[in-house]
């Protein structure tokens, strides 16, 4: 069963992107040669563990890589209204305008991103005014009201409050509404549901589904939570040691993964309600991002390693059905997690 | 507890290792050497450069020269020898006051934080009272009432400076108490003595050590201030006295006399700088995380 394919019109094209951090220990190659296309209206999940480079990739998409990081090479191109925009080449104030208007981000510690001494309404109104001085107060209020109802918040109750008067889940929803204020076509969400209790998480998921169906916004999620991806994703990109090792339709990635790491992940994550199945630990640990051995970075933990894996880093290869893998052996391995 | 170690091992862990760590940072090494120079100056200086005590009016406010590296004062006495000889009193009081402050503050702050309850309330009440009293006027009043020598001066400064540090130590202890590894130590039934000495103290040491150095520098200001204002019976080569004398005898008005007022100030500044640089590298000694 395939997910309904989004219109295959790329809104973001990432070409050969590499991002590095200069640390006292050495250069951390956080993102290495990433190629990616994000399609209009789709929900793309970038999943990976700590150190995989997923957050860095998210920041790079907005050209917000924090110090001491920098974009070493590659480009991020946005296709907006028929034009191609290279965010990194824009002057800083145009970049700021582009951000939030065309693409916005809900950050990880979103609960703490709200200004604690301003009421919610003031923050939202300020954000609107900062980007468009001509908006009238009434127009702004209408917009805010609509967005708040989209995220299932009672405007009357929330707008007058200070952030600390709202629960964690409510603050998170305010952050999501804030990210949508200027009708961006693309929203990037970094771990939007961590630190929320379980029933509230479900709420947020419903809110996000609502946004997806009502607004058709392109959403890019960055998370380590596979179950969240299973719930919301159209396509999933799996990152390991700075590269996308697998990218494809959510059902394909979960049930017929092509990369040994993806496969191992699916076999190591406990399932809540499936029949008792055996789980397998993944031996070893992620590589040192400063001194990486040559060849495939997953090699020390891969049960199928071959000689070529030791010497050459696997290139991106396209499997027939719009599925990307970075593995020398994917053709030989017939990995299957379960039959659909 | 662990069995006693041989003397050689003790020497290695408490002297050689820390020295190596200090030496690894240029700033720290510079500070350490600076402090050593000052201490040598205080300890041996007076024997090498005896104090020039005879007034020689014809040599009044001479500029620096080979014979008088820092020039002469309003009575023609050599300034350099005064600086060297003045170091002893100043550093002695600073050391004693700083050490006293840190000892009192650590003891009271730890008890307040660790035991809590009534102990905490009492200690903090005393602490607050002392904090609200303006320090310098109080120091001045005490200086006028008590017969002052180096010891009493150090004692007064030390006893009045502990409140702020005690507070800081108390909050550190409070936050450390809640840490998971302390709870684990309780679960392992390691005992209160172990928890305080082995688990909590080492975590406080970086802070205590740096505070110790800073207390000393603070004590210098207090005593120099007191002496400058004339509250303390002085010997003429005490740095604070030199500033006082320079001021009252108009040293700032003459071009050649500027060294009289500048020398003690530079001496104090030099000491502070060395102390602070040294303090930074001391942090590395006591906190393994900073060593990488």
């Amino acid at each position: 069963m395939m997910a309904i394919a989004a219109q295959k019109e790329p809104v973001i094209v990432v070409r050969n992107l590499s991002v590095e951090y200069l640390t006292p220990r050495g250069v951390v190659k956080a993102v290495r040669n990433v190629n990616l296309e994000v399609y209009k209206g789709e929900t793309l999940f970038i999943v990976g563990e700590s150190g995989s480079g997923k957050s860095t990739l998210g920041f790079a998409l907005l050209n917000l890589v924090p110090q001491p990081g920098y974009i070493k090479e590659g480009e991020v191109l946005y296709r907006v209204d028929g034009n191609e925009v290279n965010l990194m080449k824009l002057p800083p104030d145009e970049q700021r305008e582009f951000r939030w208007k065309h693409v916005s981000m809900v950050f990880q510690a979103a609960l703490n991103s709200l200004n604690p001494v301003m009421r919610v309404w003031d923050q939202l109104y300020d954000t609107i005014k900062a980007h468009d001085r001509n908006v009238s107060r009434e127009e702004a209020y209408e917009k805010v009201r609509n967005l708040l109802s989209l995220v299932r918040l009672d405007a009357d109750r929330v707008l007058r409050a200070y952030p600390h008067q709202l629960s964690g889940g409510m603050r998170q929803r305010v952050m999501i509404a804030m990210a949508l204020l200027l009708d961006p076509k693309i929203v990037i969400l970094d771990e939007p549901t961590t630190a929320l209790d379980l029933l509230t998480q479900k709420n947020i998921i419903e809110v996000l589904k609502n946004i997806k169906s009502k607004l058709g916004t392109t959403m890019i999620f960055i998370t380590h939570d596979l179950s969240l991806a299973a719930e919301l994703a159209d396509r999933v990109a799996v990152m390991y040691a700075g590269r996308i090792v697998e990218l494809g339709d959510v059902y394909e990635v979960f049930y017929r993964p092509k990369h040994p790491y993806t496969y191992a992940l699916m076999k190591t994550v406990p399932k809540l309600t499936s029949v008792d199945e055996e789980l397998y630990p993944i031996p070893g640990s992620p590589p040192d991002m400063v001194n990486m051995p040559p060849g495939c970075k997953f090699l020390p933990r891969c049960p199928y390693a071959a000689d070529v894996c030791k010497q050459v880093e696997p290139p991106d290869e396209w499997v027939a059905s719009g599925h990307l893998v970075a593995c020398h052996l994917w053709r030989e391995l017939k990995l299957e997690v379960r039959s659909p | 507890m662990a069995p006693a170690r041989s003397l050689k091992r003790v020497f290695r862990t408490f002297v050689i290792e820390p020295l190596k760590i200090i030496a690894s940072s240029k700033a720290g090494l510079a500070g350490f050497i600076g402090l050593l120079l000052y201490i040598s100056m205080a300890a041996f200086g007076p024997y090498i450069v005896p104090l020039d005590t005879r007034p020689k009016p014809e040599k009044r406010y001479l500029p620096p020269s080979w014979e008088h590296p820092l020039g002469t004062d309003f009575e023609g006495k050599d300034i350099f020898s005064q600086i060297i000889n003045g170091a002893r009193d100043v550093l002695f009081v600073a050391f004693m006051a700083g050490t006293l402050t840190v000892l009192i503050a650590t003891l009271l702050g730890s008890i307040a934080g660790f035991k809590g309850g009534l102990w905490d309330s009492i200690i903090m009440a005393v602490d607050e009272v002392l904090l609200t009293i303006p320090q310098f006027p109080l120091l001045s009043v005490l200086a006028a009432l008590v017969r002052l020598n180096n010891f009493t001066l150090a004692a007064i400064i030390g006893v009045l400076s502990w409140p702020a540090l005690a507070r800081a130590i108390r909050s550190q202890v409070l936050s450390l108490k809640e840490r998971d590894f302390i709870e684990a130590a309780r679960a392992l039934d390691l005992g209160t003595r172990h928890i305080v000495l082995v688990e909590i103290m080492p975590n406080l040491m970086p802070y205590i050590v740096v505070s110790w150095i800073l207390s000393m520098t603070g004590a210098i200001y207090s005593q120099v201030g007191l002496v400058f204002l004339g509250f303390v019976p002085f010997t003429s080569h005490n740095w604070g006295v030199m500033i006082n004398m320079a001021w009252t005898w108009g040293a700032i008005y003459y071009k050649t006399s500027v060294w009289y007022i500048l020398s003690p100030i530079l001496a104090i500044t030099g000491f502070q700088l060395s102390a602070i640089l040294f303090a930074r590298s001391l942090e590395n000694v006591f906190n393994p995380r900073l060593r990488g």
Partner: protein, 329 residues
């Protein structure tokens, strides 16, 4: 098989809202909790954050004294024990914390951290003996070669390695019970199973019982699949039974709501899940605990006059299976 640990009607109340001008109210973080742990068995205590499971764990480990109720170690009331007996109890129940970064004293080397309890309880009497035992402990938890780790400081180890050291420390006194509070939540997904398997292995080898506390029901289910699970809500245990029974056939409306709300790492399954609608979206806090059954403001099966008056009792639906809900009266 004996009951190594039992909590009877344990409550932990604390004061909230006390200011200089007004007295405080009492809120119960743990409200009349009853739990049993058999020797060498596993009990998973699951619930959302703030439900009181961590506090319950600390009561079980003797680190917090309950304001009501009793904690029994092999049948003896722990807080009525003589000093010597209590010390034995303390040694026998160890705790593993969630955050490997704060569970180890940053100022002590691994060797010092692990040898401290050995010296303290006279299990070794010389440095050589201690080094020997610490090596063995490190090997047992998979940190090999031990020499590589002994003289390191915690910040030089990875999160997973630190957690192994924490486990080594917990087993060093041969405890009968280990209270594991979210032991793998801060560890990368690909490394979790390693730690969980290690814990299970130690259980087999040493016969230690686990009180496994977590908000991640999937992990809780996996670890306690041959044991029991208790579901906690706002300080009360609402459901208890063999793990698979509780997870696959949940009875309490809260458990059912929880299970229907948690996304699973299986796209088809999770997208087909029907979410249970709750009456209210408000998340209650410990400061205003609802009357009667604590779940009643959100419960779709709420019966006015009944569920909001008295909290329900434990209703048994099987030998080791009970629910605190009037639906099963």
């Amino acid at each position: 098989m004996s009951k190594v640990l039992e909590l009877r009607d344990v409550s932990v109340a604390f004061e909230v809202g006390r200011t200089l001008f007004s007295g405080g109210r009492m809120a119960k973080a743990v409200d009349r909790v009853n739990l049993e742990l058999g020797e060498g068995r596993t009990l998973a205590l699951v619930g959302e954050s703030g439900c009181g499971k961590t506090t319950t764990g600390k009561v079980a480990a003797g680190l917090i004294k309950p304001t009501d109720g009793s904690v029994l170690f092999y049948g003896k009331d722990v807080w009525k024990m003589k000093r010597e007996e209590f010390k034995e109890f303390r040694k026998s129940v160890q705790i593993i914390h969630q955050d490997p970064y704060s569970s180890l004293n940053p100022m002590l080397t691994i060797f010092r951290a692990l040898s401290a309890p050995l010296f303290r309880h006279k299990l070794v009497s010389s440095k050589e003996e201690a080094a020997d035992m610490v090596s063995k402990l490190l090997e047992t938890v998979g940190l090999v070669p031990p020499e590589e780790f002994m003289n390191k400081y915690p910040h030089q180890l990875s999160g997973g390695q630190r957690q192994r050291v924490v486990i080594a420390r917990a087993i060093s006194l041969n405890p009968k019970v280990i209270v594991a509070d979210e032991p793998v939540s801060m560890i990368d997904v690909s490394l979790r199973l390693q730690i969980l398997h290690l814990m299970k292995d130690l259980q087999r080898k040493m016969g230690v019982a686990y009180l496994f506390i977590t908000h991640d029901l999937a992990t809780g289910r996996y670890f306690a699949r041959d044991g029991y699970t208790a579901v906690m809500y706002l300080g009360t245990i609402v459901e208890f039974g063999p793990t698979n029974s509780v997870i696959l056939e949940p009875l309490h409306p809260y458990t059912r709501a929880l299970l229907s709300a948690i996304p699973e790492a299986d796209p088809e399954k999770t997208r087909m899940k029907k979410v249970m609608e709750l009456r209210s979206l408000d998340v209650p806090s410990l400061l205003n605990i609802p009357s009667g059954c604590k779940f009643h403001p959100r419960c779709p099966f709420f019966k006015e006059g009944k569920c909001d008056k008295q909290p329900p009792e434990r209703y048994y639906v099987g030998k080791d299976r009970w629910v605190a809900c009037y639906l099963y009266e």
